[in-house]
């Protein structure tokens, strides 16, 4: 039983529907909720196969990798996970699960075809009972009074809301506010933005970049700083961050931490973990006079890569959590403003699947759990923002020659260096010409003939430059450059 796996399965139902039906109407609806999902189908079973060992089902039914998702199974997993003594869902988990339930109900109520692999979970008694339990948990209601809150009629009202008003991800904000009114979500859960993830090429590797912009009127900058250190991430989000083991100070001022992530409620024999040695660096800005207080946490793969006992599966993993007060704000008083970015690549997953995995798991969204959880109820044993000035660098120092900041610069293979130098040269030349022209214009000396000649030159340069580039990269440059 795992809340995370239930969220994965609920959203995975959309993928299963695409795979099984191959129906364009289904694909259109699924893409409206999870853009590009149909073009990258089978991502659900890909994540399952990646995170669960084949033959690992000896511990119970369904513990091995699943190949198809079912909404009732997901609801049951979620309900059992909490009822059997697990922690209540975090606002982030509640938000992601309800998003999936809403999309599945919309799909099943909109497209009714025989080949659909599952039915509307709100249409039968078993599903209604489970939905009442789940809505009570995600809405922060007293679980014992769930039947009172969520009668069959109430469930139908909620399902109809999903069917008629939740047509795509763009509708999430107004729909989530209605769900707060209906008691299905807390305001904190509704305030969590959707996962904004893109696939980009970083240093030649297709990677996922996840951005988030958040703020809180309940948490101060100092309260957030008190829990944001990576050594606390296990306490901030114990479902996915299974362990964050401190590995000491480096000579360049960064600190190492061994991150272990995965579906933590499963034993490693069933669900293996991703183990990565990270390093992190904290900076603070305290204004001398008017201004704003700021704090920044940068993190990065420890170098040299891979540092034992990392498993090497995560080959790109860096980002930052930036926090600040309002102008002339008090760091001990709300509000606090936060911006985060995470760039990562996980070997063994397709780029789109990585994106789904990172968004589902909350891997890049831990700050939401801080703002709406641990920063509101801080653990007195949490590692503080300020580190001891007397700490000495530890022996585990494998820093490359060159000392502080000698991290390998971005790739400068022959294609990249050629392209960049050509672009720089061309931009420089075009810019100079444009300045010259503007100068003439300002002094009233620009003639139509000159303008026409310039336009022709720009056009010719642009048309011919890709071919010049091809010619340039075929010239050997020596020295591996």
């Amino acid at each position: 039983m795992s809340t995370l796996r239930a969220i994965l399965e609920m959203q995975g139902c959309l993928d299963t529907a695409v795979v099984v039906t191959q129906d364009p109407r289904v694909m259109e609806i699924v893409d409206a909720f999870l853009p590009d999902s149909s073009a990258n189908s089978q991502w659900y079973q890909e994540i399952e196969a990646f995170m669960f060992r084949p033959g690992g089902d000896s511990g119970g039914e369904g513990d091995g990798p699943r190949t198809t998702a079912d909404p009732v199974n997901a609801l049951q997993d979620f309900q059992e996970g909490v009822v059997s003594g697990g922690p209540p869902p975090t606002p982030l988990e509640a938000s992601r699960l309800i998003y999936g339930i809403g999309a599945v109900i919309h799909l099943t109520r909109t497209v009714q075809i025989a080949s659909m692999p599952f039915s509307d979970p709100s249409a039968d008694e078993r599903g209604q009972s489970l939905l009442a339990d789940v809505f009570a948990l995600t809405g922060g209601q007293a679980f014992e009074q769930r039947a009172q809150f969520f009668s069959v009629d109430n469930i139908d009202v909620i399902a109809e809301l999903f069917a008629s008003q939740f047509n795509s991800w763009k509708d999430w904000i107004p729909v989530s506010q209605q769900l707060v009114t209906l008691g299905v979500l807390t305001q904190n859960a509704a305030d969590i933005p959707l996962c904004n993830a893109c696939v980009i090429t970083y240093d030649g590797i297709q990677s996922v970049v996840v951005d988030s912009v958040l703020s809180s009127n309940q948490v101060s900058l100092n309260a957030l700083k008190a829990v944001v250190d990576p050594r606390n991430w296990h306490d901030d989000d114990p479902s996915f961050f299974c362990a964050m083991q401190y590995e000491g100070l480096r000579t360049d001022g960064w600190r190492r931490v061994l991150e272990t992530v995965g579906f933590c409620s499963y034993p490693t024999a069933i669900s293996p973990r991703l183990v990565t040695m990270l390093k992190f660096f904290k900076t603070t800005v305290n204004p001398n006079g008017p201004g704003r207080y700021e704090a920044r946490l940068d993190y990065e793969l420890n170098d040299p890569f891979t540092t034992p006992p990392s498993d090497g599966k995560i080959t790109v993993d860096h980002g930052f959590i930036n926090m600040w007060t309002g102008d002339n704000g008090d760091p001990n008083q709300p509000p606090v403003y936060v911006r985060t970015r995470k760039v990562c690549h996980i070997d063994g997953l397709r780029p789109y699947t990585m994106k789904r995995f990172v968004c589902l798991s909350g891997y890049a969204f831990i700050v939401a759990n801080m703002l709406f959880g641990s920063a509101l109820n801080p653990d007195p044993n949490a590692v503080a923002w300020a580190d001891s000035p007397n700490e000495q660098p530890s022996d585990l120092d494998e820093q490359p020659p060159g000392g502080s900041g000698a991290q390998a610069p971005p790739s400068d293979n022959s294609v990249a260096s050629t392209a960049i130098s050509m672009v720089a040269k061309c931009v420089e030349e075009l810019t100079v010409k444009q300045f010259d022209l503007a100068d003439k214009w300002m002094s009233g000396q620009l003639t139509v003939a000159e303008l026409a000649q310039h336009s022709a030159e720009v056009g010719a340069r642009i048309a011919s430059e890709p071919w010049k580039f091809i010619q340039a990269i075929t010239q050997p440059k020596g020295g591996g450059k």
């Binding site: 904004n196 696939v199 970049v209 900041g405 971005p410 672009v423 931009v427 214009w441 890709p466």
Partner: protein, 176 residues
């Protein structure tokens, strides 16, 4: 479903867009210049900046396609469904005149001063600060530097369009 682009089609599209946009800027500026109120100093500065910005953006996209490797030439990765966000907003004091923004030099990574972003890989949003504007964001045009905080110096100037106003330099730290 996206149809894969054949080789070079992406580059051709970028080039065509760039030519089109440059031409559009000149036409609009020409129309304004012919009008009763004229183009004005602000318009001239905006024109120059837009042209530079288009040059940077267009070639930035082209370079990204090229350095993406063979996959890009086969049309599998040139297009992003979305774009990483620019930096958090940088606050500046308001002025009564427009200003141009530029990076005075490379930006150095926080905690790793040896890792620097060349000024050519940095642009600004908006690319030009109209009078009264107090915020801008820093945009990274080379994703190889994405995902870290950087410190650098930016210069705000009028490009000589306003007399007796010296350029102003300020140090900023932003997440890119």
């Amino acid at each position: 479903m996206t149809t894969p682009k054949p080789p070079m089609r992406a580059h051709s599209a970028v080039a065509q867009q760039l030519v089109g946009k440059v031409a559009q800027r000149w036409v609009v500026a020409g129309d304004k210049s012919d009008s009763a109120e004229g183009l004005g100093t602000d318009g001239r500065i905006a024109l120059v900046h837009d042209l530079c910005d288009l040059g940077m953006t267009g070639w930035g996209i082209l370079a990204e396609c090229v350095v993406s490797g063979p996959g890009a030439w086969l049309g599998t990765s040139c297009e992003c469904a979305c774009t990483p966000l620019p930096s958090e907003a940088v606050e500046v004091q308001a002025t009564t005149y427009p200003r141009q923004i530029e990076a005075s030099g490379p930006f150095a990574r926080v905690g790793m001063p040896n890792v620097t972003i060349p000024a050519s890989a940095i642009s600004f949003e908006p690319s030009f600060l109209p009078a009264g504007t107090t915020q801008f964001q820093v945009v990274l045009t080379n994703y190889n530097y994405l995902g870290a905080n950087y410190t650098g110096t930016i210069k705000l100037s009028t490009q000589g369009a306003v007399n007796n106003v010296a350029p102003v330099e300020m140090v900023v730290t932003v997440g890119l």
